[in-house]
């Protein structure tokens, strides 16, 4: 049985200019202990899918799926609140802006403690020990002292480490990382990616990496889903994808990487986008470009 299995997931938003289809029939499967990367540019619907799984989408969204199960539990029949209760312990999520994801009014120790209080029955002493253990595990120096630090007293990289500590506090079976390193510097990015893959390996977690960065994909993923404008273009294991991409969009994307540049000018995705727009013109609105 797969850890997470999603078939034919579609998400539609009610907007000022009529319904807007953010996702059109995508499939994901994550096995236990696997790293799946969902890669795409803005507007590809890569974050929407996971927010839909977590029940974090606003009321204006309509979610439909043929199958949406976590460890065999059908998620579709549950309300968003029930869903968070059922899977809150087993699925954790971290976001792009680490500093904004932490509550600025409370110390990081308190926020970690809160996560433990919600999902475990440990007493105060045990929780404190666990908090220190977690902070040590994510590589925060002097955890006994940092427990009383507020988010604004830490750097972005350290905040992301704390977020990862909170997310892994209850040993989740699946960790969803939504652009976890986009806001960070390259050297910090390296450290965070190493940390995530180490934790993933040690705990045997499933890990979903949502990213726009082909470099991050190459460094972390086992399997890759490529998305464009709410549709799935290609699913392949990472080596096949980079070595022998089958879909024209993936090829276009890879050749647009500056490090793969061969000539004087970079090839762009524009040609592919034009063809794609012509193909799908019937179904989608043409106002996309005007959307900021």
């Amino acid at each position: 049985m797969s850890l997470l299995e999603i078939r034919n997931l579609s998400v539609e938003f009610d907007t000022a200019s009529g319904p807007f289809r953010a996702l059109a029939g995508v499939d994901y499967t994550v096995e236990a202990g696997e790293v799946l990367a969902i890669v795409g540019e803005s507007g590809s619907g890569k974050s929407v899918a996971m927010l839909a799984v977590m029940g974090l989408l606003p009321d204006t969204a309509t979610v439909t799926a043929e199958r949406m199960s976590f460890e065999g539990t059908d998620l579709r029949s549950l309300s968003a609140a029930q869903r968070r209760k059922v899977i809150g312990k087993d699925i954790a999520m971290i976001f792009q802006e680490p500093i904004a994801s932490l509550n600025p009014c409370f110390t990081v120790g308190f926020q970690l403690d809160e996560a433990l209080k919600t999902h475990t029955t440990l007493n105060r002493r045990q929780r404190r020990d666990r908090v220190i253990e977690l902070l040590t595990a994510v590589g925060i120096p002097e955890p006994e002292r940092r427990i009383g630090a507020f988010p604004h007293q830490m750097s972005g990289g350290q905040c992301q480490r704390v977020m990862i500590a909170i997310a892994t506090a209850c040993n989740p079976k699946l960790l969803i990382a939504d652009e976890p390193t986009t806001a960070l510097d390259v050297t910090i990015q390296k450290q965070i990616l190493d940390l995530l893959t180490r934790l993933q390996r040690d705990h045997g977690m499933g890990l979903i990496m949502i990213t726009h960065d082909m470099g991050v994909v190459a460094e972390t993923a086992d399997r890759v889903v490529v998305q464009y404008q709410g549709r799935q273009m290609e699913t392949a294991d990472v080596l096949t994808l980079f070595e022998n991409p089958s879909h024209p969009y993936t090829r276009a994307l890879l050749s647009a990487l500056p490090e793969n540049a061969t000539g004087d000018r970079l090839p762009t995705v524009a040609d592919f986008a034009r063809d794609f727009a012509r193909e799908t013109q019937a179904g989608t609105d043409s106002g996309r470009e005007a959307r900021p």
């Binding site: 050297t187 390296k190 726009h212 991050v216 500056p258 490090e259 470009e289 900021p292």
Partner: protein, 278 residues
């Protein structure tokens, strides 16, 4: 004989921070004595992570902020805004393109007005001439004439960055400072903007100071590279020197941290992983 357009010597900038009622102000050295030359028609890339002083450097080069000490010369003319203020000639010499295409355009100004503003303020062209110039520039940066009357929020990020570039070169500057111009953009759009910058450099003989944190972009676009670390230039040389044989430990750390998207590295990683598992 090299044709140096921008000559920077021992440039420093300090900021006073803190200094409330009870605490003494602290002096932050954002840029600690940087020197470099840029030759006409070439690209100097300034690389570094957040807080290394690269944006402060950009602000000094474009005369937004005055340096604490040191000198900037453009085409042999010293730039000193504290003493003489900014003259029209200086303004026509250097312009800047910002990182965030969503913040750098006035939301209440139509694209045409955005492009015409520099002409209106610095030249004596008539309204019709300005319009023609703006329309011609739109075409140069790959936009259509009908975009002239639209508002910025009707454009995508890449299109806005095109507009920002167009505005910067309306006055035909000799030097263009690009402050992370593609880091807020998608990969495919990034490629288009880099191509556009290359085209414009060829056509107008522009000189670029390209500020970035992305080494793969720098490697693609730069002629010379300067690596900054805590306000100091720790590495400065041609692209092949810096990438081929980095001298400073920080540069090597930076290279090592950059994700590698080539097949060989992926294969190596996967092999290591399966070895660890087995």
């Amino acid at each position: 004989m090299s044709d140096v357009i921008l000559k920077v010597r021992d440039l420093k900038r300090d900021y006073q921070i803190g200094g409330g009622l009870f605490s003494a102000p602290r002096l932050l050295h954002a840029v600690k004595g940087v020197s470099f030359d840029v030759e006409r028609g070439t690209t100097l890339a300034v690389v570094g992570e957040s807080g290394c002083g690269k944006s402060t450097l950009a602000r000094m080069l474009t005369m937004i902020d005055a340096p604490t000490s040191g000198s900037i010369e453009i085409d042999g003319t010293p730039i000193d805004i504290t003493r003489h203020g900014i003259t029209r000639e200086m303004r026509q010499a250097v312009q800047i393109v910002f990182q965030n295409p969503y913040g750098s355009l006035n939301p209440r100004q139509k694209i045409g007005a955005v492009l015409e503003e520099p002409l209106l303020l610095n030249t004596s062209m008539s309204a019709a001439e300005r319009r023609d110039a703006a329309l011609a520039m739109l075409e140069k940066v790959g936009l259509k004439p009908e975009h002239y009357g639209r508002y910025p929020h009707m454009f995508s990020g890449g299109q806005r960055q095109r507009v920002a570039i167009a505005r910067a070169i309306m006055l035909r500057p000799r030097l263009l400072v690009l402050d992370e111009p593609v880091s807020a953009l998608d990969l495919s759009v990034q490629a288009q903007i880099l191509n556009l910058l290359a085209d414009l450099q060829d056509e107008f003989g522009l000189t670029y100071v390209f500020i970035s944190h992305d080494l793969s972009v720098v490697r693609y676009i730069a002629d010379k590279v300067m690596v900054m670390y805590f306000g100091e230039a720790v590495e400065y040389g041609t692209r092949d020197e810096v990438f081929g044989n980095p001298q400073h430990a920080y540069t090597r750390t930076l290279f090592a941290a950059t994700p590698k998207a080539d097949v060989a590295s992926i294969r190596a990683r996967l092999e290591k992983k399966s070895a660890a598992a087995g």
